[in-house]
């Protein structure tokens, strides 16, 4: 008996030792001197990385982004590829876990030698991979609206920054005569930063923030918060909740007798996909602020929606982050073709000189070479009983990205 157990312990120790050695080796490669990413251009194809959460709590949203990235790649390959090379996508699962995102991006850059990586959703995952891309001098294309106040030289931001989504959302509320607002958000970096900006805007524009509440990510008990909102008699609610919390919030909101007519809610994280999972019964009539809706008119969007539904199913809606992801691949292609090379510094230089445009589903988008963000038209939409969102207001022309809100006098001192 004793012997057997001894042998077992030995076996365990051996396994552990191997694991430790392997881990140490892994560390060595990642800590080695890095003079920039090596891109493998030897074969007939060019590899790019897709880094999305395919499992865990964020899979709900990020799988749709991965799908539309694949659609863009397929379309580009069918029309001849980039610089004569077909794109070979390597998909990695970030598993809704921020250290995993960093690990996988390191793998994509130093083992697969990809030309660029597309993906990430939450700000937390972007913050986790940012140092990796900066150290290895490799490119990340980030397709989701975010809180601004960031400008990494190795990230291209194809979603909206605050002055293209939140500020227009507030402009809209102001134009509707809604002067007292209640802020409800999830308790993490995006809502906290967004609400700081909203409060600065309100102070300068004669609006009043009558309440501010945060719920931990994943909370589903909103009765007290909704009670506070109802008691505040605010004109409108600005909602920066993310994920499952939205479901519980809107169910509670309706049960409490609050409606879009009495107290409209403007949400910045609810797109077509989320509408479907919350239920139109609870959402009809409420507002969202984005840059793209499935219903946005235009030939480019008709083509995108048709292609997406043909590939993934007629019941699958298209949404803003999916569109921004789709666009990001085409923008990268345009930059590479202008540079005539896959090399990161040359691609960046090509973007810097300007003139990178794409006739996107949301309309013509232009890369701003200085901030590496994208000019986008802001659109306020109203959720319909059919689950689709229709535009009720837009900014008229694409808004120049201003991640640090330098052009807004009320925003001084925010960053």
């Amino acid at each position: 008996m004793y012997r057997v157990r001894g042998r077992r312990i030995l076996a365990c120790a051996a396994i552990l030792a191997t694991a430790v050695t392997l881990a140490a080796c892994g560390n060595k490669t990642s800590q080695g001197p890095s003079s920039g990413a090596v891109i493998d251009t030897s074969g007939p194809t060019i590899k790019v990385g897709l880094l999305n959460s395919l499992s865990g709590t964020m899979a709900i949203s990020e799988v749709t982004v991965r799908d539309s990235l694949k659609l863009a790649i397929e379309e580009i390959n069918n029309s001849g590829g980039v610089l004569g090379k077909k794109i070979d996508p390597i998909s990695e699962d970030g598993a809704s876990d921020w250290p995993t995102f960093a690990e996988k991006s390191e793998k994509l850059i130093s083992q697969d030698h990809v030309a660029a990586v597309f993906g990430c959703w939450t700000s937390a995952s972007r913050k986790a991979v940012k140092p990796v891309f900066e150290k290895d001098k490799s490119l990340l294309f980030y397709p989701v609206q975010y809180e601004g106040l960031e400008q990494s030289p190795y990230i291209f931001y194809t979603g909206a920054t605050t002055n293209q989504q939140i500020v227009p959302g507030l402009d809209y509320l102001k134009s509707q005569g809604k002067t007292s607002i209640y802020l409800v958000g999830s308790d993490y970096v995006f809502p906290r930063t967004a609400n700081k900006i909203i409060k600065a805007y309100a102070a300068a524009n004669g609006m009043k923030v009558v309440g501010e509440d945060y719920a931990p990510l994943g909370s589903t008990e909103f009765s007290t918060i909704v009670n506070k909102v109802a008691a505040s008699k605010a004109d409108a609610v600005f909602n920066t909740l993310n994920g499952d919390s939205n479901v519980a919030f809107f169910k509670e909101y309706k049960s409490a007798g609050l409606t879009a007519e009495k107290m409209p809610v403007v949400s910045v994280s609810i797109a077509e996909e989320e509408v479907k999972s919350i239920g139109t019964q609870y959402l009809a009539g409420q507002y969202t602020a984005w840059n793209y809706y499935q219903t946005t008119p235009g030939a480019a969007n008709d083509k995108f929606v048709k292609a997406y539904k043909a590939k993934y199913g007629a019941d699958k809606p298209t949404s803003d982050p999916m569109e921004a992801a789709y666009v990001s691949v085409y923008l990268w292609k345009a930059m590479v073709e202008k540079a005539g090379s896959f090399e990161v510094e040359k691609v960046k230089a090509a973007a810097k000189t300007g003139g990178i445009t794409f006739d996107a589903p949301e309309g013509l988008v232009t890369v701003d070479g200085d901030t590496q963000h994208v000019y986008k038209t802001a659109r306020i939409g109203k959720i319909g009983a059919d689950g689709l969102i229709t535009e009720v207001w837009n900014s008229g022309s694409p808004i120049k990205p201003d991640p640090y809100l330098k052009g807004y006098s009320w925003a001084t001192g925010l960053s």
Binding site: T57, A59, V63, D187, E221, T224, D244, S255, I278
Partner: protein, 300 residues
């Protein structure tokens, strides 16, 4: 005044949700000492039952009433399979049960993802349950409004407790369950088929989880990860209430609901969560065995 009253109502409705999700667990964990980490997924199965029924058989109107017995059978059936295949082999090994059932919970989550897709699904609430009742209007213009869905949950929770109490007190099965809990060996030598009683207890406990899943579709998301959000609260209620006591579970569920709603109103949700946990830690320092303890003559 209105606010105090409406917060009190919110407190009791949070308590009712806690009670519903903890009730099945108070049977399987409290009475049988099985740490079933897959309890949350059995609740999820109940919620998905509503979704499937609405898709296939009934409209929104009657769906919840039809779903209650069906969810009981679905989750109960899953519980029996789980008990038969895994848990009965691990009765004396609580830590192994914990790990195994946690693995089962991950598998069930992935199964839900494969069958229903990763995104949450939506169900339609019956029109009757989306409205609210105005209890009174005060002069200051703030009315006391009570949501119908919350009233339904409160009624269902109390009904479930009453039914379970009746079964445990009055039926032959209930007597056997209590006998096995109090002294398994003595029950066995008295001719009670303890393994069959175990399976039935597990069936009822799991079925109650399914019932809890039905009204949750009115207040929260229905998705593969909904169980993980629930499971901690459920264990909390049972542990603080005291192992093996239904009474403790009921009292603690409502006490925690009240505490949560009152603290949250004057602070924030995050602070309320922290303070509730601190209160629980302090309470368990004072009474590590929970609110009530089961007194038995068994030496174990």
């Amino acid at each position: 005044m209105t606010l105090v009253l409406s917060q009190l109502f919110i407190g009791s409705s949070i308590g009712a949700v806690l009670l519903l999700i903890a009730l099945g667990l108070s049977l399987t964990f409290g009475q049988m000492n099985v740490i079933n980490m897959a309890h949350g997924e059995l609740i999820m199965a109940g919620a998905y039952t509503v979704y499937v029924l609405q898709k296939t058989i009934t409209g929104a109107g009657a769906s919840l009433l039809v779903a209650l017995p069906v969810a009981f059978l679905v989750s109960g059936g899953m519980g029996v399979v789980l008990e038969f295949l895994l848990i009965r082999r691990l009765y004396a090994r609580p830590l192994d049960t914990l790990l195994v059932t946690w693995g089962v919970s991950l598998m069930l989550q992935q199964l839900a993802r494969d069958i229903f897709g990763a995104p949450n699904v939506q169900t339609r609430a019956p029109d009757l349950l989306t409205g609210n009742v105005k209890i009174f209007s005060s002069a200051s213009g703030s009315d006391l409004v009570v949501a119908n869905s919350r009233l339904f949950i409160l009624a269902l929770a109390l009904l479930a407790v009453a039914a379970l109490t009746l079964v445990l007190r009055l039926t032959a099965l209930g007597r056997r369950i209590r006998a096995v809990v109090q002294n398994r060996d003595l029950a066995a030598v008295s001719g009670i088929p303890t393994s069959r009683v175990d399976r039935l207890t597990f069936f009822i406990g799991s079925g109650l989880a399914g019932i809890a899943g039905v009204p949750l579709t009115l207040v929260g998301p229905i998705g593969p990860t909904m169980g993980t959000n629930i499971i901690v609260d459920a264990f909390l209620v049972v542990v603080v209430g005291g192992i093996g006591h239904l009474k403790g579970t009921v009292i603690v569920a409502f006490a925690l609901g009240m505490l949560q709603s009152i603290v949250e109103y004057s602070t924030t949700l995050s602070v309320a969560k922290v303070l509730v946990f601190l209160a629980i830690v302090a309470f368990l320092q004072w009474r590590p065995q929970g609110l009530f303890t089961l007194r038995t003559r068994s030496l174990a």
